[in-house]
Symmetry: none
């Protein structure tokens, strides 16, 4: 007798288990059996809910990125100035939800595998494009146009590098310290340019800077 509506439940269990297992034993030892056991189901059932192992891995990576997107989006919605928008991106990346050890380690495992997996690479591109877009749309107001691209590249790289460090440091990562480093970099990038009041959300921008759009 088929239980109805199991699909989303099982998929979620399996995705969570996948991230946990990859985080705990690494990509190459994340076997279907181990994942199934962690999810509390039999190994056979996995292929009922996912085409194959690869589809499960991809769904897990997708899920990880979706969580990140949500964390950033939530903060972006509250930001009122360009600088706050950039800070929202940073804060989202170092929010507690993202920053479990398992998740960070899994994230690293996925990226390491991406060069050999077009589907993961595609996710990476989408993810990167979103981060870029968010940061460019914020920083372009507070720095010379010509500097924005490099600044964004640097900021994204720094965030990634800090995640890498978190994944590779023993013990639980110190989110605050890492975030502070990223925030500091942001500060240095925008120099002492003040957040132009005219850019505050909801107001009409009247004044202007040389590098404004």
């Amino acid at each position: 007798m088929p239980k109805l509506g199991m699909k989303p439940i099982r998929r979620r269990q399996l995705i969570d288990a996948t991230i946990a297992v990859i985080g705990n034993v690494g990509f190459s030892d994340a076997t279907v059996s181990r994942i199934a056991k962690r999810a509390g189901v039999s190994p056979g059932i996995v292929h009922h809910y996912f085409e194959d192992k690869h589809a499960l891995l991809e769904a897990a990576m997708r899920d990880l990125l979706e969580q990140l997107r949500t964390a950033v989006a939530g903060r972006l919605a509250l930001a009122e100035t360009p600088v706050q928008r950039a800070e929202a991106v940073i804060d989202g990346n170092f929010s507690a939800e993202q920053f479990s050890r398992e998740a960070i380690t899994a994230w690293l495992a996925f990226w390491a595998h991406a060069p050999h997996d077009p589907a993961l690479m595609k996710l990476r591109r989408i993810n990167l494009a979103r981060a870029h877009s968010n940061l460019v749309s914020a920083l372009k107001w507070v720095m010379p146009r010509a500097s924005v691209d490099d600044a964004v590249d640097g900021l994204v790289a720094l965030i990634d590098g800090l995640w890498l460090r978190a994944a590779l440091s023993g013990g639980r990562p110190d989110r605050e310290a890492l975030r502070t480093i990223a925030r500091d970099y942001l500060d240095r990038l925008i120099g002492d340019t003040p957040d132009p009041p005219s850019l505050i959300k909801g107001t009409t921008r009247t004044g202007g800077f040389a590098w404004e759009r």
Copy 2:
């Protein structure tokens, strides 16, 4: 076909092949057979020269780090000022020798596996400590003592993040662009503090800064 003293030759061949294969197909698909084929030897011989697969992998990672160390050390030897020393670290990290696609991808694969492999983790720690030491000993002369640690953490993370980006971007990585971003971060960290003339190698330091040692 020489029959004596093959050990160093074969070990080098196998290490190179390991890095290449990991770079090309990833950590989990880097089988002993594939590595042997790439090295042009039979699979069986691998265990003649390495205790087991793990020993080979570790030797390969060690080799990768040794290459990096050499690249940095060579540049450090030529540096005359603290700032030049910091630049030497950056430049060594983005030198052409290090920056083959295969090597970068392998590097990422190793780090992703490190959390599950004490031997790799140990290498990571040694490597990190060296980078820190090099940068601290340079930056402490050109910025307030209290800022040095965070600055170094940030710089190391940025470099790692830029490598990550290189590993994950299609096509061949643009070393110059990446290096420029790192150099720019360095500039921002030390502000407009000029390299104190008194610190130039070989001269006697007479003047002083608040944060000098």
Copy 3:
């Protein structure tokens, strides 16, 4: 093809196949593949039912000893006098169930391997202790106490030696002839001491011998 509750069935099949294969080709050529083929299953499934090859071998040896134990125990239950108890041990060891060529040869293979395998050695000790205990508890009534231990050691050794001979003689072993030799040794050990009537099961012992307890 039943799909549930296969465990006991498969384990038995595999144990039987193991004994047969060891009996036929010897310990060193008893590969998992051969055993699986003999059991009519795929090589892979073996590890579904046994932790590893060693666990399978140990289970097989255990099974062999358990069969022997049962054969002896059944006969002991029917014995009414000390001498009959000793004879029960002998008869159990030469009963038809035990004495297939394959089983005897496998038995020898196991003992030969035991010095290098603590698990087998432990089984040997348990097995030996049981045989000793059975024989001591019988012989102590019919011979001087001081002679019992050596007598038991001799009897056990003779039985083992006769098994060895059976394993090493071509053709099918002549159980009867071998048993007769062991029985004769027993007779000589107890001399013409009659089974003391008083010791017959269920009767009260009234008379006495110097060596009675």
Copy 4:
């Protein structure tokens, strides 16, 4: 430059190493490499002195049996009466030369493998025939003809069984105790039949027994 006369030296080294290795790690783990290492030579050289691994194993078994033959023969030469001849066989089997732990364990390993190796089986047959012949020629003078065969079979089996016990007991085997058990069995077999004086070596037999030849 070929060293002359290495052949017997190397063969002996390799045979001794083979027995030692089999005694220490068992038949299935006695690899050519291990044996070569134990003998202090390179693995390749083994095939210079022995056709193949099997030839080496056979030579080792042959050597073991030859040692036993010598030990018995030496004692037989000194025996003057039938009983002494039987005792010589027993004593030879429990002489110190034979009774190293390694040798006994190797002996057991060889017999366990014999059923699957015609060459070993042949050695076994030769060995057995010699023991039988020696014992029959002794015992026929001191017991009824009809009993001799069974008596010999029993004595041989007991000796084998005591070796088995020695191989399987921890610690160093107690030669004396084991020999005593075998001697006692012999005593019981021949009963109180005295060694007929007329049979003493070098004398002429005049009297007679019912079972004399």
